[in-house]
């Protein structure tokens, strides 16, 4: 391999470590946005008792959830490839949270898959418990894991991060379903979505207020900065305008604004992390990153594929766009 294609002692571009910091958080953002609405579907599913409505929800969830879930693997492995120490510490220091999260994902994924295998009331009830329980606990524990990443052991901020992720997942789930179902059901969902938006925005404000007041891990200064203020202000604006759009029944526009909430949340995480990448030990992006050759390699081989993956998703959502029809396999 030539030195120009894959330099051994220098990064392809000087800022490659920072680009990778961005890429890792991009993967996390994709996960939080895409699987977030899957979690939302799972939680809103608990509010439905009508079998037809439940099957409509599952039909929206079925073709996309597995592909969405792969983003968490992309996030984890990209973190390992670029910042192995962060991957190791984050997971080893939060052992039970991390494994609790993956167990929740097991229940969430198996519930719907198993449900359709049998026509039996009790069977359906249990598989529904798995689906709903997994959909609540996965974002809660993932949010708490993110909270530990940002704030270390402080209990209240960590809990609030978890609850915040649950709330924002309900918002996106409601908007996604509203855009794909009939008007009667959509207006029910809208009420949950707007309530969750208010709860989410309130939660973010309380969380950041707590961090400032208690100065967790010296994070107060980072919070009291212009970028953070801008992201929070933007979130409030997006959340409120989304709620107005929802009230007017413009569900596709609501969906677009709802999906930008978890995006902004991920940007907030990035701002709070940088320039460290593991605040509990003060580890900097530049200290944690792998050597130039290794990073250049994953860049050259990985980035084109990442673009390809984005195209797959465009294709997938294109095939399954529009209102939900039918359910289950056509086999």
């Amino acid at each position: 391999m030539t030195d120009t294609l894959l330099p051994v002692d220098a990064y392809l571009v000087e800022s490659l470590p920072e680009i990778w910091f961005g890429a890792v958080l991009f993967a996390l953002g994709m996960y939080v946005v895409l699987d977030g609405f899957d979690f939302g579907i799972g939680m809103l599913y608990a509010t439905r008792t009508d079998e037809r409505e439940r099957e409509t929800f599952l039909a929206a969830f079925g073709p996309v959830w597995d592909a969405n879930e792969v983003w968490v693997v992309a996030f984890g492995t990209m973190l390992l490839a670029a910042f192995p120490r962060v991957y190791s510490r984050l997971l080893a220091d939060n052992y039970l949270l991390a494994l609790g999260f993956v167990v929740a994902l097991v229940f969430r994924g198996l519930g719907p898959e198993l449900r359709e295998q049998r026509d039996d009331e009790r069977w359906k009830r249990y598989t529904d418990y798995a689906f709903i329980g997994g959909s609540v606990f996965a974002p809660l524990l993932l949010g708490m894991l993110a909270g530990r990443w940002l704030f270390g052991e402080a209990t209240l901020p960590v809990a609030l991060t978890g609850v915040g992720l649950v709330a924002v997942s309900i918002v996106t789930g409601a908007a996604f379903l509203a855009a794909k179902t009939e008007p009667g059901l959509a207006s029910d969902l809208r009420a949950y979505g707007i309530g969750a938006t208010v709860a989410y925005l309130g939660g973010v404000v309380v969380l950041l207020g707590t961090v400032v007041l208690t100065d967790v891990g010296g994070a107060a200064d980072a919070v009291l900065s212009l970028p953070v203020a801008a992201v929070v202000a933007l979130s409030v604006a997006v959340g409120l305008s989304g709620s107005v759009l929802a009230r007017r029944g413009r569900y596709r526009a609501w969906l677009a604004s709802a999906l930008s909430l978890p995006t902004l949340l991920t940007i907030l995480v990035a701002i709070l992390l940088y320039p460290t990448i593991y605040p509990p030990t003060g580890l900097l992006v530049r200290e944690a990153v792998v050597s130039p050759l290794a990073l250049n390699l994953v860049t050259v081989l990985g980035f084109p594929v990442l673009l390809l993956v984005l195209w797959y998703f465009k294709f997938l959502y294109g095939v399954f766009s529009g209102p939900i029809e039918g359910e289950g396999y056509e086999g």
């Binding site: 391999m1 990209m78 984050l90 991390a98 994924g109 898959e113 050759l293 396999y329």
Partner: protein, 482 residues
Amino acid sequence: MSPITLLGAIVPGLVTFLSPELASRMQFGWTISVHIIFASLSIGLAPFIIYFTWKDVRTNERRYARLRSFWVKVFAAGFVMGTVTGIPMSFQFGTNFPQFAEVAGELIGGPLAFEAKMAFFLEAVFLGVLLYGRDRVKDRTYIISSVLVGFGAWLSGFWILIVNAWMQTPRGYEMVTRNGMEIAKLTDPFAAFFTPRMPWMYVHMMNASVISVALLVAGVSAYIVWKKPDAEAWNTALKLAVVLLIASAPFQAIHGDAYGRHVEDTQPQKFAAMEAHYETGQADLHLLAFPKSPEALTDPRAENLVTVSLPAVGSFLASGGDFDAEVIGLNEYEENPPVALVFWSFRFMVGLGFLFIGLALWGGFLMYRGRLADSTRYLKAMIAASPFGYAALLTGWYVTEIGRQPWVIQGELKTSEAVSSTLTGAEATLTLVAFVVLYVGLMLTALYILKWLVREELRSLGVRESSGGRWHGPIPWVSSDD
């Protein structure tokens, strides 16, 4: 004080927790054993899925539609199980073996990330199309989707085995100090990816997956054909599976023999454990070994065994032609893998491998005579053999992984040094128990799903239901009153 430390403080009098190292190893071994069943199901079913989809779309024959529909359902259930069991795997490098992840991050992180991005996404996205998109995409797109799903499964195995092969025969790195820790720094990507072990492992594992699934497909087909001899689709499936078995089973033995020599070259300690060869010197080849006493099960040295051996042939094979060649014995090493586990796993795998060749030849003979579906004895044998491909595949991996101990990266990092230093025995034991309970449930469910699918298939073929919802027989889709 966290609830877990509290639990740890209260319970020691009642319960002894496993050490973090032992619990972590058991947890990883258990979770990957379950995961690999589903991963190899995807790999082995891929050719069947592509073939049935292609034939269905092109010929519009009912039998192919039936087979595609059935096996895509099995594939989908297996893929979901593979996904949900695979994610814990990718987390456990961090939760349980953070030192390993940190030392090897530059070498294993890239391939693992490529696996997620190049393969896993491909499978997950196009499986969605394959399952739900028949009426939404063009015929050609639908066939291509099945090809991409299958390709994704095989590519996934490729990247994962690059990681594992590197752990067996690490290359392309140097040890440097970073952040006060000795880590492996990537120096030559090509050498690091295409290690000496990689081609051996890839061929052996892909072929093992094909054999396992061919046996599974043959077993299910044989059962349905036995119940309903004129089921056209299932006669086709049975024939196809037996043909694949004829192609793959003998090849595995020939390839495996050469693979063994490669292991002797590159990991002599593992090879010695496979043969329970203690004293360095001339080695006999044990064709068959039986325990003389129960003791041999835990300590399989030659004096505890009744063996059918070819004197000095071990040396001959290991060296490629020299009967007097020295084969390094286990006594040379300070610390050895659990020899009995490796020795018996190896024998179990090889024995099953020969059984599969026998079944393949028998099937080939019957097919030549045009009586494949008429021989009840053969159908019964194939039904009984259907889970054994997986048994061979798992025991083969036990040889590979347990045989590498005490190393996690051969010659570079010991497993005991790779385990998390912050992990407590209580936490590790708790999650181990949770994963055991969860995955036992998951596997039983997978077997039930297969049973239900078979029962539904029989019903649609007009076979009267023969049993209630209870699972009687040793193999889930066989009921006791058959």
